[in-house]
């Protein structure tokens, strides 16, 4: 049995006291790949922000279990690449290096070994060739590789990806997702993926949480993504 890192127990999430989503219960275990599906407006991003600690839950419990080091689990967050302001004059390396800041004391310089580790993560994600270029000028796929490298540089227990392949072509999507699966196996970390891409979920996820208006469905990709079930769910979303 893999170690449980995060448990959501009858959790309700929302903004300013307004509940967007309620009654959510599932666990994220080391080595697992959980996909979070749902139409726009069903509360995927709100749930993700709550799990990451960016906003408090409205009700229920979010339990973060200690990792192997006895600390709260580290989240390696990969946001959507389009959200960053191009005014910042940061290279791909600068962005990836930020992943190490959690281990560097405030006011201290980033040690050389952390810089080398960030460079190693960029190499691992295939971002080494364009790491010295301006982050804002990279393509969508290149930015995603840098952001995944940044998340890995944080030495995460849980890799959290918010639609990492949005705006990325099919070939790049395939390469990015294969890499993420490989990293999950190699480093034995958990993956929590928010996506609209059914093909990606079918191929990689071992647990699916599907947010529909009025119900949170859970199961394996095979259980939820067969033709009959999908027709039912899509009908619920249309209604």
């Amino acid at each position: 049995m893999n170690q449980t890192l995060v448990t959501l127990d009858d959790l309700s999430v929302g903004y300013g006291g307004q509940t967007v989503l309620s009654g959510i219960s599932f666990s994220i275990a080391r080595g697992g790949f959980t996909a979070l599906l749902g139409a726009n407006g069903t509360g995927k991003s709100t749930l993700l922000k709550t799990i990451l600690g960016l906003q408090p839950p409205i009700a229920g419990r979010l339990h973060l279990h200690p990792n192997a080091g006895g600390n709260r689990p580290v989240f390696g967050y990969v946001p959507q690449a389009t959200q960053f302001d191009p005014l910042y004059l940061l290279s791909g390396f600068d962005v990836a290096l930020m992943g190490t800041f959690g281990r560097v004391r405030a006011g201290s310089r980033v040690p050389r070994e952390e810089k080398e580790f960030a460079a190693h993560c960029l190499r691992a994600t295939g971002a080494e060739d364009f790491a010295r270029r301006r982050f804002a000028e990279l393509s969508g796929g290149q930015k995603q590789r840098v952001l995944i490298a940044r998340a890995l540089a944080s030495r995460p227990d849980v890799l959290v990806l918010d639609e990492p392949t949005a705006g990325v072509d099919h070939a790049a999507t395939h390469a990015v997702m294969e890499f993420i699966s490989q990293v999950r196996r190699d480093l034995n970390i958990a993956v929590l993926l928010v996506t609209h891409d059914f093909a990606v979920v079918r191929r990689h996820a071992d647990h699916v949480v599907w947010l529909t208006p009025g119900a949170v469905l859970q199961g394996t990709a095979d259980e939820l993504m067969n033709a009959r079930k999908m027709a039912e769910i899509l009908e619920m979303e249309t209604d």
Binding site: L54, P79, Y88, L89, G99, F101, G102, R134
Partner: protein, 286 residues
Amino acid sequence: METLFHILAPDFLLRNSVYASLLVGIACPLVGVYLVLRRLVFMGVALPQVSSTGIAIALSLPMWLGLNVSAEQGEGHALPFAGSILFTVAAILLLAFMERRGRGVPEGRLGVSYVVCAALSVLILAKNPHGEMGLLDLLKGEVITISNADLAMTAGALGAVLVAILLFHKELLLVSFDRALAVTLGKRVTFWDVLLYLLIGVTVSMAVLSVGPLIAFGLLLIPALTAHLFASNMRQFMALSVVIGAASSFFGFWLSYTCDLPVGPTDVVLLGAVYAAGWIAARFLK
């Protein structure tokens, strides 16, 4: 050239004003980088005006309380600095809090703050017999004399701002660039935000007190925007902003002294010319 040597001479009457201008020319662009990056440029317009109102109120307070303040006592910067920093920091924290809540029109709030504070400063000074003794000149951007004690206070405050920004650049940049990442890495985001706002508040207060609100705004905004045209990384961005700010402050002072013009408007026009030249040069270089 002769004027240049005259300004640099140790016995130059306004030498402290030159030093203060240089200090402001270094500190304002540095915090201005963060205002530009966080797209808070309009805050750079409103805050110097809020600061001026704080100064005007602080200078009028003894009169309102019926205390007898002589001209000599009124020349010190401690009371105006307290008023300036109190108003500026309160305003920046309030405006930032309202922005975080995401309601209303942020530009509207900044516009209202600017225009109300500008009007309030004039009204308060109109009823203050000491208002003519320096503060109106300061608000108009005229050269004013700065005592050694005031220069030391300016140097101490702005020096502390420079050290804090350079020391915590990593944290301030992380929180500005990607708040969500900072939270997931366990950083105390609110603490770093408040620190940045305090640094901006102290810098604006000292700048307004030393050189006036017009040039404070000019130095917060224009060097950073000009440097952004040419810099290719954050280090260059900050260094170039500081160089442009310091050089414009010094040569603006020299120009105003030579041509007998008010320092504030001269500096700002010079900065504007540097920005225009930089914009054209950047077009040719690309």
